[in-house]
């Protein structure tokens, strides 16, 4: 590959100034919320052993950046945070009593085709709630996700939920073998409902076939779950449907709890939802807004993952993409306000030590007051004015000839003492 020394690899980008500040700001807001629900923050390593990360995806690590370390071990950049958290819960946190609530904010890496909203390195904030089974744990994490979106002022958002056992149970009951079940799930994940319906038409007959064909269209209010429960109860082969019915019942009890949490209006059912990660065992969920063409939050229940690390415990959680969240907030005009502080430029004369003691003492004082203050030497007052304009500062304190202060954009000139008094009193810049 030809590249110049000014390029970054595909799908990776620099973030600067305001972009970084916005990211900090929303991560701070979310961290506060998650901490207030009793979740403890964890940092896990960026690099993990590949076989650890592969526990989350049936031994396969298809989207991860893998490489061999100096000892010859295959390692990888984490493509998601749930598996590292599961490892942590079964190792260092082994003696902590369940339930354990964890949250994280960090970068993950995926080798996928870059496009808008899909970079190869991105930030995720997420939670893992270990030790609380369905439906209680599920309801808490879904409710918390709704609050996370609300906290940021996001509007017009929606969460959809389903239960992985519903589709699986229906397919099993229809006598569809594992290979075909995989194929059908793959078609649903790809969104190819035309091919899915055709394949179901060939594989399943009768009323069960009809229900299966409708799956991508079974979307809407919580009442849909009850309706399907009633339909299945009438089916002749109702014994074979016990798994599907159990899953439906679990989903309906999750909805009952969501109503108590007061978040029901944000949550819909989507029985055609299928997830990429293979560790899900129960609830699956996604969150999005009308302004962004892809999901922002994603999660579910994974009751077997911890067991694969040697600590049996039910668990559920979600992660949300910070960059996507920022895009959605931007499109809705809801980006958080970055507090605008007066920026100060102090310009002592270049080439002399005269005025440096006053300049540095003043800089120290202003920084203590919270004003971002730069000290740059200049040759003359003309250059000082030019520099102040280039850097778009609010106040210039110039020592390069007659000491003076200039406010921008009015270019009103005062003595340094007056300017300091104004700044101490909390001047409004803009």
């Amino acid at each position: 590959m030809r590249h110049t020394i000014l390029q970054t690899p595909r799908g990776l980008a620099d973030l600067v100034g305001r972009e970084v500040a916005l990211m900090h700001l929303i991560e701070e807001k979310l961290s506060k919320l998650l901490a207030s629900w009793g979740y403890q923050e964890v940092h896990t390593p960026t690099i993990e052993f590949a076989d650890v990360l592969a526990k989350g995806s049936e031994g396969e690590l298809k989207d991860a950046f893998c490489f061999i370390d100096r000892q010859g071990d295959l390692v990888a950049l984490r493509p998601e945070m749930t598996t590292p958290c599961a490892r942590l819960l079964a190792s260092r946190l082994l003696s902590q009593p369940m339930p354990i609530r964890l949250f994280y904010a960090g970068r993950v890496f995926r080798y996928e085709e870059p496009q808008e909203g899909k970079n190869r390195e991105f930030r995720q904030i997420g939670v893992e709630l270990a030790g609380l089974p369905a439906p209680v744990g599920d309801a808490e994490v879904v409710a918390l996700a709704v609050h996370a979106f609300e906290t940021l002022g996001l509007e017009d958002f929606q969460f959809t939920v389903s239960h992985i056992g519903i589709l699986e149970g229906l397919l099993e009951a229809a006598g569809i073998d594992k290979e075909d079940r995989h194929r059908l799930a793959h078609l649903l994940r790809r969104g190819d409902f035309v091919a899915y319906r055709r394949a179901v038409g060939e594989l399943a007959k009768g009323s069960l076939g009809e229900i299966l064909a409708e799956i991508p269209r079974l979307r809407g209010e919580a009442s849909l779950v009850k309706e399907l429960e009633e339909r299945l109860a009438k089916e002749q082969a109702s014994l074979g449907l016990s798994n599907a019915r159990r899953a439906l019942f679990e989903l309906s009890t999750i909805f009952e709890l969501l109503e108590i949490y007061g978040v029901l209006s944000y949550v819909k059912v989507d029985l055609g939802m299928v997830k990429d990660f293979t560790y899900y065992t129960g609830l699956i969920m996604e969150g999005y807004t009308a302004d962004l063409g892809y999901t922002i939050a994603s999660g579910g229940r994974y009751d077997q993952l911890l067991k694969s690390f040697g600590r049996s415990a039910p668990a559920s959680g979600w992660a949300l993409g910070v960059e996507r969240l920022l895009l959605a907030l931007e499109r809705q005009g809801k980006l958080p306000k970055i507090e605008e502080k007066c920026e100060v430029l102090i310009t002592p004369q270049a080439g002399t030590k005269e005025h440096w003691p006053q300049a540095l003492a003043l800089a120290k004082e202003l920084r203590k007051l919270g004003y971002p203050t730069e000290v740059n030497p200049v040759l003359d007052p003309g250059r000082a004015m030019q520099m102040a304009k280039e850097r778009e500062v609010n106040v210039l304190i110039d020592y390069s000839s007659e000491p003076k202060a200039v406010f921008f954009p009015s270019e009103k000139t005062t003595s340094i003492e007056d300017a300091v008094q104004l700044l101490k009193g909390g001047v409004n810049c803009g």
Partner: protein, 229 residues
Amino acid sequence: MASGFLTVAIPKGRLFPPLMELFQKAEVLAEPLEEKSRKLILEDEESQLRFILSKPTDVPTYVEYGAADLGIVGKDVLVEAGRDICELVDLGLGFCKMVVAVPKDGPIKRVSQLGFDSRVATKYPNLAREFFNRQGLGVEVIKLNGSIELGPIVGLADAIVDITSSGQTLEENGLVPIATLGTSTARLIANPISYKMAFGRIMTIVRQLEAVLGEGGEADDPDLADLGR
């Protein structure tokens, strides 16, 4: 997205007239749109639909990025583009086959004769590569943007992969089909998030269309879906 206009990306060209006929029959539109007007965006107040007229190959892009909520595009284009969209309805329009064709009087009579030193010209490089790879044939695939039939005539390629409906263009250029990759018809597609957020409105259109479409006939050749990702 959820309220107001729904945006539909539709292809200019041969699919346009039968599509308008279908929309009118299904009462999606009261009046057909005029393709001749040079406008690229047409709005229909009554149905609250906004139409983007675009090149067929651009339709999946508009829909994936959410610039359009819905789109209409051939399965051939869809599989080639491999985009994250939902495919809702087979409209049965614009039926064509994707075939491998070779010069009538040339040495190649079967696909298996195309080897690592063979060149195949096509507008569908991803589909073509997938088809040959599955048979362990490492042919070199050359992407052309039009007049694919020229490839073998001027010695650029040994074979072509292209769509054909009547086979007439192939014949006029001295080519015969030797294999079918699959069949293609026009599909109604949706942005996955639009499908969720505007589900009710989209399903109304889906049901209107399905009411006049009936059950699609079973084709002899497999749908191109099987060659997808």
